[in-house]
Structure formats: C-alpha cells, structure tokens
Symmetry: C2
Subunit: 360 residues, 2 copies
C-alpha cells in the first residue's frame, strides 16, 4: 500500500511525522495506552495492542527518540571515532566492534577525525550532543588529542580507546603491542643474516610508529647491530599513515646510500608495498638483494609479487575487546579502575623476506 509522499515537488516541506497521539487517536485509545501496547511495558489487552500496532504501521510511526532521550532513557547507540576510513585498520576494527554491538542490539555511528584535531573535537561533541551511550576512540594519540578526550570524558560518557593509551583515569584502553611486533619482525630479518636494516616511515607525530621504531632499535641492539640515523627515513610531515608514495621515496633514499641496507622494515604495509615497487623498479632482487617487511597484514599484502612479510596485529580482536569493555561500562557490569589490555602481535612470513622472490 504505497502512500503518497510529499517530496520532490514540494521541496523541503514535509508532513509532520506521526506522533504517539496520532497513533492512539487512530486506534481509538489514549496516548499512554498506545505507548504501553508498543513497548510491551505494563499491561494492554491483546485486542488493543493489535489495533494500536496496525495504526502505527499505517501511519509509519517511529517513536521520537529525542523525546525518549529527553527523559534520560537508556541510550542504545555508540559512537566510533576513526582516524580515517581509507585505512584497512579501520575496516577490521569496525568489523570486530560491529560484531559485538550488533549482537547486543546497539547501533553504531562512525565519525571521522580526518585532517585535524578540530574535526575530531567537533565529531566527539556531536556524539555527546546526540547522546550516544558510549564512545570508542581509535584516533591517533597526540597530546592535543588527549585534552579533547578528557573534556569529553567530563560528560560522564564511558570511553574506550583503541591503540592509544590515554593518561586519564577514566578511560579504558585496548591496544596491540607494536613494540613487540616490530621487535619480532626485525629479529626475523636478523636471523636471516641481515646486518644492515633500514626503517621506512618514521614520524614523530604517531605513537604507534614510534613504538614500532623502538622495537626495531631494540632488536638491532640486542643483536649487537647498529642502526645508523641515515637508515631511518620518513616524510618530514607525516600524515595519518604512511602511504605507498612514502614507501617509494623511502626506498629510493635508502637504496641510494653508499652502503645501503640489505633489508628494510616499513612502518606499515602501504609503505612496504611502495618500497617493494621502488626496489623492483631499481632492478633489485627481492628478497635476494633487498628483503622487505611491513606491518599490519593488510589483505593485499598476500597478493603482491613477492607476497609481503608483515606483522599481524589482530585488529578485529581488539575491536571486539574494546566493544565488550565499553558495553560493560555502559551497562554497569564493568566497574572499578580503568582497564588496560594489550594484544600480542604475530609474525607473518612471506616471500618478500624468504625464498626466491619474483626473480631468479
């Protein structure tokens, strides 16, 4: 029974949405009765409920959440603040989060921090304004960002961050052990006999990257190897995450050194793929003359030629854990001091460090 809709020829004018009173009138009862029938709260005779439900459907009735929230009802929506959307990390994370949230009957809204801290603040405030019941924040940690988060926390909304430890007693955190992942993959390179190992994609802005770089240095140190400053390269102004371009440039720089590295660890898989392309373009054999490893285990990494050795950080798992912690806070199951959870990373060895590579 398709109804006439007042749009397209009427511009933004719209018939006012049906209210509970309208439904009640049509069903021949009073608003309160309709409310009870619809929400199954309190009693209502079967017969009345049917009439009400029919009327509701006919009027295309949707309860006005604003009015509900106004009375301080439970808020079954969660806000997710992401750094950007182009990042496979975001995709997997949301995957894990949604799995938990969907099951629990919550709706998730996503906002993007995008370029700057101001956008992030605007998005977070918007979440607060729209009365989400909890916040999952996966943006990158900067000191400025922390201030914003603390401000938001003052509104009393439970917050769980992912991959971003916040120095605030009211915020729970889930993150991967980037240090250990980097340590493991560099140790893997060392165990293959490499002694000159470069790092592509450094950036002082990004907490993850710094921890990965520390892991890189620690592994070298433990093996008694050196990491000359010139072996660490990165774009001057680091963006949200290193890109193919950065990796390409980085490899070009490293390969141009008089004593160039024989292996390279790139901050993430995008950079690694860019580096791989650069190396092949220069005619270097991979991994024969240049071994390359990345970080993140993006799906495409298994389909480069040669496939990419990388570090898996079980992002989906982190998403699930974070969502569960948040729900716990929201529903009062989880109490007490802030929780900090860390997930270990796993090494994924493929052809870019071991084997024939794509040239004899």
């Amino acid at each position: 029974m398709q109804q006439q809709v007042p749009f397209g020829n009427a511009g933004p004018v719209r018939k006012k949405a049906a209210t509970l009173a309208d439904v009640a009138r049509l069903a021949g009862v009073v608003a309160m009765t309709a409310s009870r029938a619809i929400n199954r709260s309190g009693y209502a005779s079967e017969e009345v409920r049917e009439r009400v439900l029919k009327a509701a459907k006919e009027l295309n009735y949707r309860p006005n959440l604003m009015a509900r929230y106004l009375k301080g009802q439970s808020r079954r929506a969660v806000g997710i603040m992401l750094p950007d959307i182009a990042n496979p990390f975001s995709a997997e994370l949301v995957d894990g989060i949604k799995e938990v949230l969907d099951k629990a009957g919550y709706t998730a809204f996503i906002a993007l921090a995008g370029a700057g801290i101001e956008q992030e603040r605007a998005g977070l405030e918007s979440f607060v304004d729209h009365r989400v019941g909890g916040l999952l924040v996966a943006t990158r940690g900067t000191l400025m960002g922390d201030e914003v988060l603390k401000e938001v926390a003052r509104h009393g909304i439970p917050i769980v961050t992912v991959g971003r430890p916040v120095k605030s007693a009211t915020v729970d955190c889930v993150s991967a052990n980037h240090w250990q992942g980097a340590f493991d993959v560099v140790t893997h390179l060392i165990s293959l006999g490499h002694k000159r190992i470069g790092f592509i994609g450094i950036s002082a802005e990004d907490a993850h990257t710094l921890r990965r770089h520390h892991g890189y240095k620690a592994a070298l140190e433990k093996a008694g190897l050196k990491a000359p400053a010139e072996y660490t390269v990165g774009p001057a102004m680091a963006p949200a995450f290193a890109t193919q371009e950065d990796g390409y440039e980085g490899m070009m720089r490293l390969a141009g050194l008089k004593k160039r590295p024989t292996a390279v660890f790139a901050r993430n898989d995008f950079a690694a793929i860019g580096a791989l392309h650069a190396a092949l373009t220069l005619g270097l054999k991979v991994p024969g003359e240049m071994a390359i490893a990345g970080f993140d285990d993006i799906p495409l990494g298994a389909y480069t030629t040669p496939p990419l050795t990388t570090v898996m950080q079980s992002t989906k798992e982190q998403g699930k854990m974070a969502a569960e912690m948040l729900l716990g806070r929201m529903e009062g199951r989880l109490k007490g001091a802030r929780k900090l959870k860390t997930v270990e990373c796993g090494l994924v060895v493929r052809g870019s460090t071991v084997g024939r590579g794509n040239r004899e």
Copy 2:
C-alpha cells in the same frame, strides 16, 4: 582547572549533565536569557552574555540537542550509509562528502550496511530515529534494498543515493557511467591487438558489475569480437565486492583454458591485483603474454609491479555532488523532480597493459 569526574570507581553512575537552567542560575539570570546569550538570538547585553558564557564553560555545558530537536529545530546532521568500510571507494566518497558538509557546518554520521539488508534497515531507521536531516546512501542496489529506501523516504527525509539508481520519484541519484568506463578500457585492450579478452568477477547481485560487464560485451561486439561464456568468470556467491582471492581464482581458471585469453578485464582493482599475482605466479609475462586491467583506480594500483591499468571513476567528485544535492534539498534551495546525475569515467593506462612489464 581539571574537575573531579565521577567514573572509574563509580561505574555507570554519572552526575547529571548541566542544563541551561543550571547555567542561568549560576549566571544569575533566567533560562531564556541564557539561551539568548548562548545562541546570539534575540538581544542580550554584552555583560550578561559574558557572565552566561563563563558559567556555561564552568559547568561544561552542552545544549541538549534532544530538547532542541523536540521543538522541531533544523537538524544539522547527515547520515551516510556505506556498504562496507574496507572499500577504497567508500573512503574517497566520504572524503568528497565531508569536504562539502564540513564547509557547510554539518556533522556526518556513518553507518555500515555490512552483511545484510537487515543491518541496512536497522542503520537507516536509527538515522531516522536520531533525526538526521538528510541521508546519503551508497549501498549496492538490490531490489530488497529499494523497498527499505522507499520506506525511509516516507519519513520525508531527503535522500540522495550514490552509484545506485532507485526507482522512486523522491530520491535523487548520482552515479558514474560504469558502462562507458568498461567500454573504454576494453576498447583500449582491443586497440592493442587483443582478440581474446576475459572478464573476471561477474556477479548477478551487483548492479555496477553488471553494467561493467555490459560495457565489456558492447566493446567486443562493436569490434566484431566474440566473448565466449567461458571467458567470463566469477565467484558463485559474490560478496560485496570482488577480492584479491576472486581475482586469483579467476585468472587461474582463465589461464587453464585450452585457448586462453591474452588480456583480462577485472571487475575491480582488487580482483585485478589478485589476477596479476596469479599470472606472475604462473610465469606469464605481464603484459606480454597476459594484459590485465582493473576498475576503480585504487591508490595501490599505481604501485604494483607492473602498475595497473584501470578506470578512474572520480568517486570524490561524486561524493561532493551528492552532498551538494542533499544540502540543496535540506535547505530548500533545490526543488522539483528528482535529479539524476552521471559522471563520466576516465581511462588510466599503466604498465599492466602497455610496455615492458616486470619481466623482459
């Protein structure tokens, strides 16, 4: 001046948020005056405004949007419904949308359709419930999906779809000319002398793919070439979009034919990259023995070896256009019958169809 926050040791208990009345009381005025001071509507003496603003800051006051909306205020939030988040298409689209929305001072919320139509419906209804002022829908077109959209349209919320023509008089649409893009790239392959050209990633579910496949067939037909059924391969149950795996499988199938194609057009770049890896794994020279083209122009496509020939569909541009149309509807600038806009696609020629490739 960091305040004590009641969380962490108190579970979900929270101090009630400050209300306008609280602010007014602290400033020694009445609520209405505070409202005027904060919203710059009506008059308020400079002195009073300062006092009110100070009080507001002190109490960490945020106007209760629910209460505002309840009065039927303008809704400066927009909902974006995406098919999934792992898709570079989504990223670029949101990029374009945000550019317009940010400038106009609107906030964007994103929801994901994910697996099924039910999630999509839930997300859309949640948007309606949260009283977003407009909806941008970029999920894939299926008949079931259309029904849901029509239902939502009945609420009188302006809707613009991207890449998905909807048979409803109340929904505006923006999309790329997939047919033409496919036609052009296949024509490019033909112009290189290829006579046996395969298609990887067919799926009856996906409208875009079908249009790309039609373009592929049209190009062959126009050149007087044949497209045997066995040259078109795809996973039986097609997911949201074809993946590296699908491309890999597809190429394996095509390469195994007694009279195998000399060129392949993959439904998207992910499939193309999978196909590329398969071809190289089989020892085929690309493009010498097997030319490969994709669709979408994802960033990584320029960094495969050889780099990928593909079709650019200016997704960001589509996002901008869609957002502008939506704002036009929301603000009453755009009136009248539904608008349908189509953006042309552009051919991007790289090494996977032309040149030496990555082997001599």
